[in-house]
Homo-oligomer: 279 residues x 2
C-alpha cells in the first residue's frame, strides 16, 4: 500500500469539491498552492474556461488529469433524445482526449421521464455505451463507468454496483472500465471481491474518495470529508492498490451543507491533511 | 398472478402507513371499514394498546397478522449492548407468537456507534440472529430478515440485498426467511432471480409495497403511495407469486411529507384503490 503521509502528490482534486461558484482557474491554482498532483474537471468548468485555455492551464500547472466528469446520461424517452445523448458523449470524449484525461467518467443515466422500465433503461445504457465506445477507442480515450449508489437508480444512474458495471464491461470489451467511488460502493458486501476482479481485468480507471456521513441530511449534497464518516477508507484503498491501481486518489465531495461554503484554502488544507491521515 | 382488482382482502396495513399519531385501534377499525384483510403492527403500537388487548382487537376483527415490526438491531458497541438486543428480540418474538404473526420482521441494525467495521457489524448480525432463531424456533415464530436499501447501511441495516439476506439464511438454516420490500430492493439487477431463489428455499415470508418517488426529498419519510413512483410493482408481484408467495401484500408507507398528514380514511381509500389497480 502506498504511503500517502508525506505529501499530496497522489491526490487529485475533482472540481466539484470546491462547489459550483469556483472556476477551473481557482481549482488549478489551489492545486498548485497545496501540492496536489492531479485534477478532474467537470465539463461546465471546462466550458466556462474554454477547452484550449483549460488545457493550457492544466499543462502549465503540470497536473495529471485523472478524469473528465462526465459523459453518460444515455437513456431517453425517444430516439431523438438518445441521438442527442450520443452527440453530447462524443463531445465529452473529445474534451477528455484534448485534456489527455485518464478516462471519461460516465454517469450512465436513470429512467427516462415517465418510465418504470429499469431493465429497458439498462439496455439503453448498454447500447449508448457501445456506440460511444467505438468513437472513444478511435481517439484513444478510456471510458470509466461509475456505478452510482442505488439511491440514484431512478434519476441518475441505473448501474449501481461494481459487479453490474463489470458485467457490462465484459459485454463491451476493451477500452472501458470503472470509476470506483467509495461513496457509492462502500456498503456492498461484494466490494472487495469485485475490486479484485476489476484489477484482474485491467478495468480500474479511477478511484474517488470522500466519506459517508451519519446522518446524511441530503441525498445529493451532503457527502463528508474523508475521516468524518463511516467508510473504512484505508481498507478500500488497500484493495484497490492490491488490484493494481497506480493512479491518483481523486477527492470528490458534494457538500452544499458544509464544505462548499468555506474558503478554497480551508477546503484544500483539510483535504490534504485528511489525504495524509485518513485515505 | 392473483387478481387484486376486486377487493382489498389481499392487502395488509402496516401501522406505520398511518403515521405516528394513530393507534392500533385506529388501524384495526380502519381495516374493517375498508375491507383490508391483514395488519402488521409496529411494537410501539402494540405496547400502547397492551399485548393482550392488541390480540383481542385483531382477533375480533378477523385480521391476518402479516408480521410484527420489528426485531433486529443486533450490533452494539459492547457485550452488554448485544445482550440487551437479544433480550429485546426475545420479547419481540414473544409478541409475534402471541399475535400469531406470519413472521417477526427484522431490521438487523447498522454500524455500532463509532465503528467503521461493516464486516464486523454483519458478523454481529449473524450471531444475534442465530441466538434469536434458537428461541424463535422453540416458540414457532418465523424470523424474516428485511434487507434494507443501501442508503441505510450505516445506521439501520447492514443487510442490503436479497442475495445477501438469503446467503445469511443459508448459514442459519430453518425458521428464517426474508421480507421483500419493493422500496429497498427495486433497483437491484438481481432482484427477480433472488426472489425465485427465496421461493425455492421456502423463505418468502413477507411482501411489502409502496413506491419510490422522484425526487425523494427525505431519506426516511418520503415513500410514495403505490402508483406515484417509478417501481414496476406488478412485475415484482408477479415474480413473488410465481415463486410461491401466497400471503398478503403489506402496505408500508413512511410519509411525513405527505400521507401522514391526511385523514385515516383518505389514506385507506387511496391505498385500497391503488391496491386494486397498481400493486
Amino acid at each position: 500500500m502506498r504511503d500517502l503521509s508525506g505529501d499530496a502528490a497522489l491526490l487529485s482534486l475533482n472540481t466539484a469539491t470546491l462547489g459550483p461558484g469556483r472556476s477551473l482557474k481557482d481549482a488549478v491554482e489551489a492545486c498548485l498552492r497545496h501540492g496536489i498532483g492531479g485534477i478532474s474537471p467537470w465539463r461546465d468548468k471546462i466550458a466556462e474556461a474554454g477547452l484550449a485555455e483549460a488545457r493550457r492551464m492544466i499543462e502549465r500547472a503540470g497536473l495529471t488529469v485523472t478524469g473528465v466528469c462526465r459523459g453518460g446520461m444515455f437513456p431517453a424517452a425517444d430516439a431523438e433524445g438518445r441521438k442527442q445523448a450520443l452527440t453530447e458523449n462524443r463531445r465529452a470524449v473529445d474534451e477528455a482526449a484534448t485534456l489527455q484525461a485518464a478516462c471519461l467518467v460516465l454517469v450512465v443515466g436513470g429512467l427516462p421521464p415517465g418510465s418504470k422500465d429499469i431493465a429497458g433503461a439498462r439496455q439503453q445504457v448498454a447500447d449508448g455505451l457501445a456506440a460511444t465506445l467505438d468513437y472513444a477507442r478511435s481517439v484513444g480515450v478510456r471510458l470509466a463507468i461509475e456505478p452510482l449508489h442505488p439511491m440514484y437508480a431512478a434519476d441518475r444512474a441505473c448501474i449501481n454496483t461494481l459487479a453490474q458495471a463489470l458485467d457490462l464491461c465484459d459485454r463491451l470489451g476493451a477500452g472501458v472500465g470503472v470509476a470506483v467511488d467509495v461513496y457509492h460502493l462502500w456498503w456492498d458486501p461484494a466490494l472487495h471481491a469485485q475490486i479484485a476482479r476489476a484489477g484482474r481485468d485491467g478495468r480500474l480507471d479511477a478511484y474517488h474518495v470522500c466519506d459517508w456521513l451519519v446522518p446524511t441530511r441530503d441525498m445529493l449534497t451532503d457527502r463528508g470529508m474523508m475521516g468524518d464518516g463511516v467508510i473504512a477508507l484505508k481498507d478500500i484503498r488497500r484493495s484497490v492498490e492490491q488490484a493494481g491501481f497506480v493512479g491518483l486518489c481523486e477527492v470528490e465531495i458534494f457538500s452544499a451543507l458544509d464544505w462548499w461554503a468555506k474558503p478554497i484554502d480551508t477546503i484544500l488544507e483539510t483535504m490534504v491533511e485528511r489525504g495524509k491521515t485518513c485515505v
